[in-house]
Symmetry: C2
Subunit: 364 residues, 2 copies
Amino acid sequence: VPAYVYSIARIREKIDALRSPLAKRAIDSKIFYAMKANRHEGILIDLARDGHVGIDCCSPAEISRALKSGFRESQITFTGTGVSDADVRVLADHPGVLVNCDSISQIRKMARACVGRSIGVRVNTGLGVSYGDSEQFSYAGTKATKFGVFREQFGEALDVATKGGLRVVGIHCHSGWGIANTQLTSYAAILRELRTFTDRVADLEYLNLGGGFGVRLKESDAPLDIDRFVSAIDDHFGSLGVPIYFEPGDYVVKDAGVLILQVTAIETKRDCVFVYVNGGHNLNVEAAHYGLTHPIVPLTLRSGSLSSVTVAGNINEAIDLFAEDIEMPKIEEGDFVAVLHAGGYGASMSSNHCMRGAFTEWLI
Amino acid sequence: VPAYVYSIARIREKIDALRSPLAKRAIDSKIFYAMKANRHEGILIDLARDGHVGIDCCSPAEISRALKSGFRESQITFTGTGVSDADVRVLADHPGVLVNCDSISQIRKMARACVGRSIGVRVNTGLGVSYGDSEQFSYAGTKATKFGVFREQFGEALDVATKGGLRVVGIHCHSGWGIANTQLTSYAAILRELRTFTDRVADLEYLNLGGGFGVRLKESDAPLDIDRFVSAIDDHFGSLGVPIYFEPGDYVVKDAGVLILQVTAIETKRDCVFVYVNGGHNLNVEAAHYGLTHPIVPLTLRSGSLSSVTVAGNINEAIDLFAEDIEMPKIEEGDFVAVLHAGGYGASMSSNHCMRGAFTEWLI
């Protein structure tokens, strides 16, 4: 401890939770797990063994790791941003990897290094959905974001690809993070808008809808009803005649992982009861840097009533708090706590700030 | 590239910038560099060689690194938070390290493991100053923060120490980050309040004022006038008769380091010119996660007028922007840019998010 513990059973369950409703409606589809959410080798090896799950990478090092974990090139998609010539040289070395180009400049780079290749174009509908409608998690919206090709430049993108000897065969669109039921109406508008892109691709072989499916973080969050989500997709693209790809990351791993920490001290300072733990925001940045709240539960059961506490980490920064003013059952120094929903973007974004970066990872 | 480049000359200059006005006023003082800002080994070795600079650590691993870099135990202070029994066992192994206790529970732990030891108590005046008066960087304020012992519990802290066989010989107070000229009045109030703590310590051997001295981040920032700052300290504590300790971190290294990145693409999307670079917020979190702006300058000079650009990283997150809508001279793909003022809390907080965490460090 500190230790991240992941449940492979829950991960498989989440994959199935997305795959089953798609199968039920006979939607030709494929899931590419977004490695950036959690690159723990045991998870990757298990997903590769499934045989029907692909993997989405966003950097050359992620491609190497995917291959090492047992994925074949044909099961790998690459969806990067700010892609460099050095990145593209690696893509050239892996001709079987399906590349979604994020910009016209990336298409130009691909044309130079990978002539003859089939590519996807990541598009930006100018519409986005995000957790709590926050701008922080919005990958598209009224303000131009760095991702994808907007509609008015899409013709140029197709043109640059064709002239450069590339075949555009896919449309990719990632619309945000934390898509919830309440946003299904906005999401339907995105699907409608996407049609204006897919209709312009003569050789369309797939539509990739990215990830961002909401995971319940706090009790008041309405969990995404995947059936309704899939039904919306079926309505818009059931007749498209090409497979639909998905890139779930957090949706697969978020609630399949916990971060276990030990209570080092409990001390009241002014009107606040601080429960100090032996890890900090360098191990999981979501509370301190994204304002996301994770439920935190004690792993030792003691009788006693709930009281309001603030859970503080061991990093010398004022923002290093896992949770403020949450209700917690009686807890004592030496007890262990679990930070729930810590399976995604936890270990993968961890740092050695204050040289308190050591932790272990367990796959059960 | 990506590469962090640090100037040892600038680091020495900044140490002197603090040391000289202290010497001029014959203030008995010592500087303990806060390692958490930048733990690059070359920097640590150079500071250790100086002989007159100590080092402040906040974790057991930082103590090991300080010793390995040439600091003796007597030159090391430890100021941690959420300190565990495991941490205290390491402190027991290093009896020469001067420990500033952050809480009454830490004093209890120290009493169990290090009986007879002289300690400092980190106090919380309930007053804080911070960059732009932001709450994010405030280490003390109206809301109780996790750091230090408040006045109403200070008597208990002294009592626990004495009964536990510890000698309280120091007062430690860190008041924030980004202390600027405009905050010298607030800072004077903190110094006044601190007097109520120092007056209660019979065996006082030092007063440690922490760090947090402002560094100019953008042109409109008023740089801290160290002479005025030192003069305020002299006014309040010149007659105290014990040495004053300081723990500058960012002040020493921030503007002694730059992050060099290469432009991978320039592309206009809607009304925004994106300059993409081959690094992301995982290499320097300050813009994305702390809202701090760093000047970014091209390293290739080209004729042409300024234009407004957004500098975007290569991480698949919407917030991964180094700067939005800044004026930049003409720049082309393949050019190098320097993110200025990147010497503190850059490399030390970096992560391998998206497996794009590789960078080099150079000390010149």
